[in-house]
């Protein structure tokens, strides 16, 4: 049984079907990449999974549990974390504060213990920080702890967003175009990190990506979408040589 399964998902915006009867499964420990030309419905798919969009039809299963009706803010509690295509960081907060927010789902204090900042609140902050420091070490962010996001270069911001997602201790990580806007070197680093997240942290990854050489290097399986429909799915080699995919990307 797959860790994560999408069954017959259809999303319609008026007459446009952004996703049309899409089904696939992702196994535990896999790096699963979704590719497709612009407007193929990749980001829509992510937004359906994180419950920002309501699917018109279909169901999503995570660990054999139907999450199609789960509230958006409860998705991360189940162990699904995500990053965004155009960075959704908390701009006027420091890197540390951004990462600490990644621990929000583990909050045990209530408002009264916070007003008086009781020892339990302090203890919780220490526990949060321990995990955050692990992630900081993992992604080499030591240098930026107290910097405001506002003042950071784009590559670092992307990294912080990945770090923030990791801070939630997810079982499944959704990465929306992790390499867009990065330099070659940063992309290479990212490749190593993604491999490490898979092997060292044991996190399953679903990734949307355009950079094909990067995709081929890190992915275990690839799904190609076009106009909301599945074109092909399989191993990187198979996708590379698939006639439909070639046609969608390069024309005849």
């Amino acid at each position: 049984m797959s860790l994560f399964e999408v069954k017959n998902i259809t999303v319609a915006f008026g007459g446009v079907k952004a996703l049309n009867d899409v089904s696939f499964g992702v196994d535990k420990g896999e790096i699963f990449t979704i590719i497709g030309p612009n407007g193929a419905g990749k980001s829509t798919l992510f937004n359906v999974i994180s419950r920002i969009y309501e699917p018109s039809k279909g169901e999503i299963y995570f660990e054999n549990q139907n999450i199609s009706k789960t509230k958006p803010h409860n998705i991360s509690k189940l162990g699904i974390a995500r990053t965004f295509q155009n960075l959704e960081l908390f701009e006027n907060a420091t890197v540390l504060q951004n990462l600490l927010l990644g621990r929000h789902i583990y909050k045990k204090t209530n408002i009264l213990s916070e007003v008086f900042f009781t020892p339990s609140a302090r203890k919780q902050e220490h526990e949060y920080r321990l995990k955050v420091e692990e992630v900081i070490d993992f992604l080499d962010l030591q240098h930026y702890r107290d910097t405001l996001i506002n003042g950071l270069p784009y590559g670092v911001r992307k990294n912080v967003e990945l770090a923030r997602a990791l801070c939630t201790d997810p079982k499944l990580l959704l990465l929306d175009e992790p390499s867009s806007g990065l330099t070659n070197e940063e992309t290479i680093d990212l490749g190593f990190w993604i491999k490490d997240i898979q092997s060292l942290l044991g996190i399953t990854i679903i990734m949307i990506e355009h950079d094909m050489s990067f995709v081929n290097k890190v992915s275990d399986r690839i799904l190609a979408l076009n106009y909301g429909k599945i074109l092909a799915s399989g191993l990187p080699e198979e996708i590379k040589n698939n006639a439909d995919v070639k046609q969608a990307y390069m024309g005849e």
Binding site: N74, F90, N92, A93, L101, H104, T109, F117
Partner: protein, 357 residues
């Protein structure tokens, strides 16, 4: 420039980041405590009023500055606090019991109003809160049993700790203690997960949601906490004014609070005090200036609101970070001297931000 060598996580959690902080803030509290020795009753009254404004400012700052939700009707909460307090005192509830009740009542009123109203955003929310201010004013007029209607409601000045609220020195200390307590409460909220969730909602709702922040709950909580602080300020304001009438809690008071947080500096607790000092003394300053202006201008009744409006506009245009922002720039200038660059605080243009998610 100061470099702090960090060896413990507690150093990031503690309120005072280094000994310099401890020294200066203790000194400030000592000076404030010693003020009655040098100042006469008039100035003590003014400073008490500034303390009250600061507490109300903290309330609005948490809502607008930290959670990013506008409110143009915050005088309503001052009114709720003031009337509840006066009503309780009139019915023989002692001061020390009345204040916690006021805080709880304002918290609940905030939550009750917040839950429906916070489905709106941006401009619509601003208009809804503006309406809230007017509705509250009318409720204060019509609900005569509770508020005395247009006749007004005298505020009893009971004994507390064997002292009377008529004693301006005692009242000054009461306000000061409440301000310090409110400040600590606000700092504690803001350095714990709830405060961070507020900032998250301000900067990106969608990311906050994906990290497990329940938007509806936390927005309502922010409104409720904001109401609680403002309600407390209202209770103290009741003692300061002595006689409550509905038209005290009008739109002008709401706008004064808004001016307070904008001038002080959005998103900083220091800003609430700076802003309170500013709006507390501004009417006095205007009154003094009136004497020196030609009578055709000086005797205009609309001079004060006009100046308030002008100042608000100029701050938003030229110093969006307010007095606290200016203070940070001056501090940095001397820390980095002579290598300070004006560009440091220039807002970067962001081209990647869009509505897409």
């Amino acid at each position: 420039m100061r470099f702090i060598f960090k060896t413990k996580y507690s150093q990031d959690i503690n309120i005072a980041k280094h000994n310099g902080d401890r020294f200066w803030y203790s000194l400030l509290i000592l000076i404030m405590a010693a003020l009655p020795l040098v100042l006469d009753d008039f100035y003590l009254g003014e400073i008490s009023y500034i303390c009250i404004l600061s507490i109300a400012g903290i309330g609005l700052m948490i809502l607008s500055g930290y959670t990013g939700l506008a409110s143009l009707g915050h005088a309503a909460f001052l009114g709720v606090g003031a009337y509840t307090h006066a009503f309780l005192l009139t019915n023989g509830i002692p001061f020390y019991a009345s204040i916690p009740i006021v805080i709880v009542v304002s918290f609940l009123v905030g939550a009750a109003i917040g839950i429906p109203i916070l489905r709106l955003t941006g401009m619509y929310l601003a208009i809804a809160t503006l309406a809230l201010g007017f509705i509250a004013e009318h409720v204060f007029i019509k609900w005569e049993h509770f508020t005395g209607g247009n006749r007004g409601l005298p505020v009893p000045q009971p004994e507390f700790l064997g002292m009377s609220f008529y004693d301006s020195v005692f009242f000054y200390y009461v306000c000061l203690v409440f301000l310090i307590a409110a400040m600590f409460a606000a700092i504690n909220i803001l350095r714990s997960p709830t405060g961070r969730a507020f900032v998250a909602i301000r900067d990106s709702e969608i990311a906050a949601q994906s990290l497990g922040v329940n938007l509806g709950l936390y927005k309502a909580l922010s409104f409720a906490i904001s109401g609680a602080f403002t309600g407390l300020a209202g209770a103290l304001l009741a003692h300061y004014i002595g006689y409550l009438a509905p038209d005290i809690f009008n739109i002008f008071l709401s706008l004064t609070l808004l001016l307070l947080i904008v001038v002080g500096g959005m998103g900083s607790l220091h800003g609430t005090v700076f802003g309170a000092i500013f709006v507390g003394f501004l009417p006095q300053l205007i009154a003094i200036c009136r004497d020196y202006l030609p009578s055709s201008i000086g005797s205009q009744p609309g001079l004060e609101p006009m100046l308030f409006g002008l100042i608000l506009v100029f701050f938003i245009l030229y110093e969006p970070l307010g007095i606290y922002g200016r203070w940070m720039k001056i501090k940095l200038f001397f820390e980095l001297f002579p290598t300070y660059k004006r560009q440091t605080f220039k807002k970067q243009k962001v081209f990647t931000k869009s509505d897409r998610v």
